[in-house]
Amino acid sequence: MTPQSSFMVLAPIVPSREKELRALLASMNEGPGRVNATNALIPFAKFENLHFARLIILDDKTTGDVRVYGLHPKPYPLYLAFLGDMDGDENSFLEDLVKVAANGLRKIFSCCEKFGADTDILNWMKERRKPSIANYVNTRGRTVRRIREEATLYEVVESYIQKNSSLWNLAPREVHAKLKQFVDAEKASGRLTLSPARPTPFGWWIRNLLHLLGVPLLVLVLSPLLIVIAPFYIVRLRMLEKTDPEVCPTVDQGYGEELSGGEDHYVSNQFSAMGRVKPGLLRLLTAIGVLGAVDYAARHIVRPGRLGRIRTIHFARWVFLDGTKRMIFCSNYDGSVETYRDDFINKTGFGINATFGGAVGFPRTNWIVLDGCQDEPKYVEYHRRHTMPTQVWYKAYPGLTAVDLERNERIRKGLEISSLNNQEASEWLALL
């Protein structure tokens, strides 16, 4: 199994170069929201292990919201974030990146602080890495290569069925047998490739095991302390939940339309949002605890392809910024922003409240998981106002949804079984 990993490089932009940077990023697109996958600066399509990538100028329009706490908004620098999700480890990917796109990266990064003509790009990027506090991968081990091979398998099988109407009169088991026979022959002839999974890297396996055991152990060790703190925590939390101000004004019409301009060009979309963590230790610790739990669950517990009831997210991550003051959330999802938000509210409202309820202005939550985003009119504006336009967004398989990937995988797995009973065969045939 080849595990997935992610990278994020974050650097402040030289203010006088912002305009130039924006133009450079725009030049990587065919039009708003539509990347040129073979653009001259970073030809994403050349990286055979890259699932998603984005370049985004982190321009948070809501920094003034902290005024509701009597705080003065800090003049944060404008950051450029370059992030992606890929198969294999982060370091090798960054090395590949420099090998393939050194000139383009140099052009882009030269608009950032502390990047000179003789800067070593790789080191510069590594020094500016920003790890996520929580990370979600739809299905661990599903590589770009496997996605492409299984997509081809699906197409080949579909076209075979289309050409062989005699299959329609056969019993499900026989159809399965015929298709298996056909696919095996295609594989044998080399016309179809379905590569076996690579062995899991030993180092990753060990780290994963340590994480699996270590986190509960840590919680266990800390539990006496947690139990003592709990009553105080709850009292204080409830007080904050009752008094924390909501900041959900209607989003500027022009801003909303700018965001829409970059959306719905494909069956999938990107989402990048930013906000400030509410002031105070309690909110910070809550955020760390909740996101730690999300990360742990995403890594070890959730069923592949399902983040709670949501089946449309390919990759997602939460990242702290400026210490732990601010947070960004980036995801890659299928469908439109309205279906995504609908899923948030109606399928995993509890999770959305827990992970974002600690952000300044979020609609009022109760007991961390209740209400909050269920205040739909407020949440819609909050959600939109905190969304940032993503300047460049790449997806390696633009026509495929996460459900498509799951379907293709189920088809392949069915073909690896030599014989199915009629019930199994019927269920398998329904995938086609």
Partner: protein
Amino acid sequence: MAGVTMSEFDYTDVQGLVRFGYKKMTKASYALLRVKDAALARAWLRSAPVTSAVEVKPSPTTALQVALTAPGLEALAVAASVIAEFSHEFRGGMTEESRSRQLGDVEANAPEHWSWGGPARVPHLVVMFFGEPGPFETFVQTSKGPSWNDAFDTLACLDASDFGGVEAFGFADGISQPEIDWNQRLTVPRTQLDYSNIVALGEFLLGYRSEYGKYTDRPLLDDSAASADLPAAEDAPGKKDLGRNGTYLVFRQLQQDVRMFWQFALQQSGGDIPQAEKLASAMVGRMRSGDPLEPIQEQEIPGIHTTPGQKEQNRFTFDQDPAGSRCPFGAHVRRANPRNTDFPDRPRNVLTKLITMLGFGPKGLHDDLISSVRFHRIVRRGREYGTKLDLEQALAPAPARNLNPESGLHFICLNANILRQFEFLQNAWLNSTKFSGLTGESDPLLGNRVALPGCPVTSDFTMQNSGGLRRWVSGLPQFIKVRGGAYFFMPGIKALRYFGQTGSSTP
């Protein structure tokens, strides 16, 4: 959650179309207007004989309804600060570039080709006339009054036709409608486990609680001489509610190529007419008679066939057809109303509910892919237009001289939240090539068949087949073309009078 009001709802301030389809008034005409003289237009709005939703006996023989676009409010000199409190979708308009993409209004459907509603042809208001054939013409003339032509420029005057309860392709139409909970007797459930056809009043009228138990954003005004007659805001003490009793009206002119539809079905069925009808029914999801492809269920569905006037043909869900073998997943009626609930299975207790919530519920590929329908309902008030083509004519080879009379649907729907209701339906369900785990498809009737990056084909239609290979047809042409459209606000009657008064004065 919602306050239980035992008093009967007061319909006097609501325009009648929200409550009635005016089916007995077989004549209808939609005047799409631009304001020529704001003062005269306002004067007309102040005195227009707008029909309310109050039930009167004997039933009236004529009705008049009025709705305005955002540019229309501007043209009437409604304060910009007031307009800014209407929804983003209404203000942006149907033809905003990104919205066109989301609605499928691209290529042949693009607003630049529209006969109205496109660039420079956006109406300011629509005046809808309904009537029985006898009094209709006179009613239209008297309602217009003497200053009509000085007040308005007529962009288009769309006449509806009466096809006798069927739409242009020949299928019974308008069967599925939500039942509005006018008296707000039902408390909105946090979680709905059984499909119900009764939907919260706030889904269709502004100023009331929605299915989320919340109030949709809308202009709330300070009490002043100008706003004195407006209803009070339920959720903001001391404020006047300009939105209350109003609704957003989505109008789309959809041209249906009837001959193309039936000829395609016939050709795919090898010239066999019963087979062609079967294919067409699968695409629609109902028989031509309106009978569903699913059996009518024994168990009652709240708000369906419980009172006279509600149709029994509507008493079904897709629960017993999880594989789509009776009614295909992609059938028009299944896309438009999946009749599902908040949870995919019916969790019997908190534990099973929790298991599902955490993602350990049903494992099937198609399970739980569709959003809960109760947040995405619309009231449809459309009417057919053009010349009806009988099935026999449609199936016969086209005559030598291309006599293909235009017909279609003046699609009208009402909702309190265009984004979450109409646009969601259109984008996530009807247009989506990935609806319910499908691929390569779009709505068999409405789809524009336009390719997306990585999805070269959107013109297939699949009929799932339990226990066997699916059957499918490929190369569905575009049967329906969008010819015009706009987003309107159909205000409460007091709000309409307010628009007639305000002028350039600030609120």
